[in-house]
Symmetry: D3
Subunit: 314 residues, 6 copies
């Protein structure tokens, strides 16, 4: 363990002080002399070009950085000290093109291709959920991945507005179609809300994606559900995608498409802790939308989930 | 099923676009050529004349309309597609007189009398809880109704401020006194908070109204409680009144008289789903107060509950 | 004057009641039987696809509709009663494609081409400032227009992010290049804020566009400046574009790119009143961004400006 | 000067500490042993029963008390030390009946009749503008009063909603009709906004009430306008009524019927200072509506105006 | 029971009216003629001098007073009527010195020493958690106390910022060191969040303080945990300290150091009710920070907890 | 000019992207290899230990950094390009001790002593106004400075709370007493609000400090007042201290001690531009308090003022 990759302690410098980086880690952007040493890179992806309803996820990374300066060094619930185990750093933000969706898709894939080539595992702070697609294009280049997906929505729709293929409601349909995900190793947890129709679920069924609605989660218990999820994901390389609207809007109001009836914040944390042992090649927390976030509650929740994800990645 | 009564899909027109009507249904006010075809009418009642504490429920209907444009066509949890089963429409608002309580009571009863005469079943977006009284006067003209009542408060008080009979704390006392409700078929669920005294509960006991405090709901489980509620309401014509302050203020902050210790949003939905099979002659969601609603969370919850009510009415 | 096109009075139905249309006018969308009778159509354009900074203008039309229900029938300052003079209506919203910028540009131009063909003059509630470009493509098909442009920014930039041509910082550069505007008849009023460089102003100078910085406005007086503006616009057909960030952010916080140092709300109104006599073929109020609007102040200001524009269009 | 009626200093006890009374003065309600010694009584009137649009002024007195604890002992601009010159006290609130308008009118008049009988001059913190009517009924019992009235609206309308006589849009029509005001000694300053019609202004003209629109105020200058106002009010007993919506909503967002285009906060103070020398028998600040007050700005402005009024009353 | 110590009823005077005291009780500050009659005194301690992260708890007492005026006379869940059982009063605020931490510690201890000498049991509304230390210095002068402590944090740290001994993260370390608490009779409930290290828990273990993490609370059930807590506290004199950040931030956002994963509001109440029978010599609710409190939810929760504490103290 | 010290352009990377530093400049903390090259260092001082009323200025630097990423490279009003003229950098934050005022005073003075020794001129983002004192102790070590001071308050009080010498109401009294300021070269502009007494002004008079109340500023005109200010400051080394409460709270609500009646945002900028030519050895913007800042307006204003100050420092 290098002391270079340690966060600043709130015991030394108050947590409201200093230039805010993710979890107060050093800022090591591509090109930085220590970039090659990084094992896990936390990346901001400030983009909401695929948003069909309320925008603002482009402001997510900055709000998550700000909130994350309240994170301390140790996960008291599990005893994990991520910054001791791995060299972690804030890699900065991927630069999007807010006025050109296709250009941004390419920029993101290029960024993550380089990152993967450097041997860094990414933990991404989104961004809307379309963000996951160009990341998967980089990470799943060689073989399809499994995925544990926490969300209120399946994001498996065919298209919107008369055929538009790329929105935040379609990334995993595209990913399956492009062979980036192995649908048999994909599980979607917490699905709920009103539906346009059953077209997304029909697609899931047809391809073997396991969809677990919120009612089933609550009735069976989260522990039981997560055991099944671990079995589905199995031992292969797996991506974890965590849409903040998985959590109930009382706990996570700052998101574009809230759906009532979700889990509370403790369950929101504990389902992540259950992922320990998974071969996680990358993870993301998406759809934090600060303009709709009353008092920063969602950013703080999102930062806490980023930390939980980091603890199961190390 | 007529295509005339279908909501606009968010797949065609984004959900933030368009003049906002309830659930994006057509606006069919009294006098409209299609009024007679409506089976279930969603009505706004923008009035808070009976409010003894924090006002603002007069703004409820507009906020509920706005939020309800995020509702899609199908209840994914139950499979119900209400707009396919019944001809539903937004009937517009009843016009209140904000400076004359007695005049408003008369206006509302007149409005619902006409509506009932046209064979429309009303789903009302309030308004404070006094709203239910003039509605009941129209709907229960011929025979007393049963009632399933979700609330933190019994609203069974005798009077306020030295004898004022009509406030949002008294509607169901008046309704029992006027023979609009059959107290033996009335159940009040979720009652909690500090009390002035036991006068309201004494009245309930004396007349056979069943009051189920929140502690009992949680300890027995909502399923068990709702079974009892269904038994109490029985097979006769029943009104459902849903005060948004039934739900915990973390989930529904925008209300005039919040009481901590209520159910979460999933239970808030599921208790309504349990009403399937009831003979519902009318229903309301009341006490959504937008000026106290941080970020519109309560409006969104209220709109979601309106949709659940609609799904058990069709 | 037809009584069909009169707004509902707050003396009859309280202003918080009813389905909210612009200024409580009848909703007459394309295809409606009375569409051909409309003289001035208020149109919502819920789109922010060109936004390079803080998004949210897609929610502008709904917030403007809501606020505009506080508008009454007469302009007390000028005595104008617009709804008596012209048949005005709320035409509804143009349907954008939030995930496809080029598709939206085409949709908007098509919509306004039909509207112009029907002989309706449009008053548009945006949307971000890129909205003006597809409108101008429809309205200036036959001859270039003059323009009075209130804004903190010139919106004359060449491109962003390595060559992206269409953003809310470029519409009038494009419009000049496409021959939609006669630069000699264009005046930009209230320009201020920090600058990337002088490239936009160089373009203005080269083409004869008159740019009046805020300091000059305040030092000369708004009356004097508006006299010059009227002279520049002259007698030909003219478009009026009013970016809400023209106004100081204390009065209009809800916008994507606020710049301090702008006019107060009285001057914001009075500059519009000075346009009486201009041959206005269309007008817009853009960049109202509700997610950044504390308490709806900007929506109310924007609705008031829409009304002032309507009064000089009739 | 008695030390009994001195406010607590922020130099001794921080201004955020202590039970909040108006300006940190002693709480001397009716019945208190020192009630008879009070010369100027600050009274809260927590009532918004006459509000036709956005409610919440019932919460005004509490918010004004809270904000007023930031007031210090001396008016630095004029040198006046009101608490040294007169025995001032917080008299508490008049108890309204929120569900009965007519009952409240009587309660208020009774309260102020007793207060006047005790020789106390009242400075009232409203409450909506209907509050002024029952106060005038008590204070103008013996002879009509002059009035200096700061407002965006004339509040001279005949009635609302098919004949309702008592709303916050009608108090001064009623007061003139009841002989409580001498219309020749009434001046209304800052009038603006859209209008239902000219019916209120016709009434003003017919009775000799001077209405000064905001444009005239700004064009002539506030000093000149206030000279005229002082002349109109003359030397007789005069009431001062200050509707917080007189001030521009950027400075006073927390009110029920905001109208853009009003004065800034410095002019809002200075017009009051111009009243020095007037024979003020009572004054009020009304229409502060905390539920619509972003961050308490309006309460702080209102408290500052209360202090300015106190300084010209001593 | 004296009628002198009864709160004003909302049935008589609306709850938004009147000078706000805790639970609408009479204001009986030290020196007041009835001070000696008080049995339980509710005290405000407006101080946040020990706060290492987000400040604002100095505004807690005022917000808690304001919210507490919605409390009624009876605890409907337990039937307790505290104001009938004991003479309760609002004693006002302890005057802190916001710019001198050591001076404030002394002022607070002096205040509570006098209060204890007068035979009053204090229920304190903080203030940050350092507040508990000077209170304990007064109440535990003669013998160490037991303590039931609800919190997300142990507040047992040694020091901050290079040795600073007095912060809101250290009070109970100091209290144990000073012999004010008997560590064997101390239980800390709900502990969670990331940790600097294990130094605080090592101290707890070394001294026999029982720390119950949130996961254990939820997995065992609150009833079981509270049984253990009652056993630990035993029959001796006990202090109850309730940090509002014990509760999940969805329910209590207005606090300086929120930690997700806490209990909901019903459990937040019920754990207090379990304390019935304890020999409570004093209690506090701390860390309510109004500047971070969206819509006053935390103040209302805190006021409700103060009432629950009062009900187990009588 | 080195390309090393250039800010990132919003034309390349959207302004909402990236780790936020002041004006998107490189982060060059003490110890950094390029520290010695910096000519003007922007420093955060996150401290509010001297605040006697509403706290939160400790969060100022982070909010100012965030807002400042909207600043572009050129001052369009004056043509100044500060980053071309001088090597500017974000030096990071001074580490305060939030629980020990005296310790923090020493830390700050030590930090600025080193900075001055390195030949860097500091532009500080506070922090409350006590921040200026330890800065002056470092910068005025060798000779007293002149000062241009924009503020609503003189900050010349002797002491608070029974003799506390160090609060945000006393820094310049201390600075004069310690010989850090030459009172004859000090001018205080915009003074207003209620006063405890005249003790601060008597001190000013006795020492020759020129106090210009807001009324005089407005009546004479800001240009005339600034001419006098420049004359007072003269040609010697001068400090500029800008308390954000100088500006009217409609424009700058996020501050601890707002006073209505201040200048608008354009005058707030223009008075700084008038300082061109002054020998500025350091400057600060203080009292931005994000917890009280509705929508970030004050942070944006403060960042804009920082930029204006930078432009007159280069």
């Amino acid at each position: 363990m290098s002391t270079d990759f340690q966060p600043v302690s709130g015991m030394d410098l108050p947590r409201f002080a200093g230039v805010p980086t993710f979890m107060r880690l050093p800022h090591v952007p591509p090109g930085h002399e220590k970039y090659a040493e990084v094992e896990i890179g936390i990346v901001g992806l400030p983009w909401d070009g695929g948003t069909t309803n309320r925008p603002g996820a482009r402001h997510g990374p900055r709000a998550l950085r700000d909130a994350s300066t309240m994170i301390r060094a140790m996960n008291a619930a599990t005893g994990v000290e991520p910054f001791v185990r791995r060299r972690c750093a804030d890699l900065g933000d991927v630069g999007p093109n807010p006025a050109d969706l296709m250009d941004t898709l390419e920029r993101v894939t290029a960024y993550y291709t380089d990152l993967a080539a450097a041997g860094i595992r990414p933990l991404t702070a989104g961004g809307d959920h379309l963000s996951s697609l160009p990341i998967l294009r980089a990470l799943a280049k060689d073989r399809p991945l499994g995925m544990v997906h926490f969300d209120a929505h399946t994001d498996l729709y065919r298209g919107y507005f008369g055929g538009t293929k790329y929105t935040h409601g379609t990334p995993f349909r595209r990913a399956v179609e492009e062979g980036l995900l192995d649908p048999k190793r994909v599980v979607q947890i917490g699905i709920r809300g009103t539906a346009y129709d059953m077209e997304d679920r029909d697609f899931a069924k047809a391809h073997g994606i396991r969809v677990i609605p919120i009612e089933e989660c609550v009735d069976r218990g989260w522990g039981d559900v997560m055991d099944e999820a671990m079995e589905i994901a199995g031992e292969g390389p797996t991506y974890v995608s965590y849409d903040i609207d998985f959590v109930d809007p009382a706990f996570a109001p700052g998101t574009g498409t809230p759906e009532i009836g979700g889990p509370n914040s403790l369950d929101a944390q504990r389902v992540v802790r259950r992922l320990a042992g998974l071969d996680i090649v990358g993870a993301d927390v998406v759809e934090v939308s600060p303009p709709f976030d009353q008092g920063g509650a969602t950013a703080w929740l999102g930062a806490s989930i980023l930390f939980e994800l980091l603890c199961v990645m190390v």
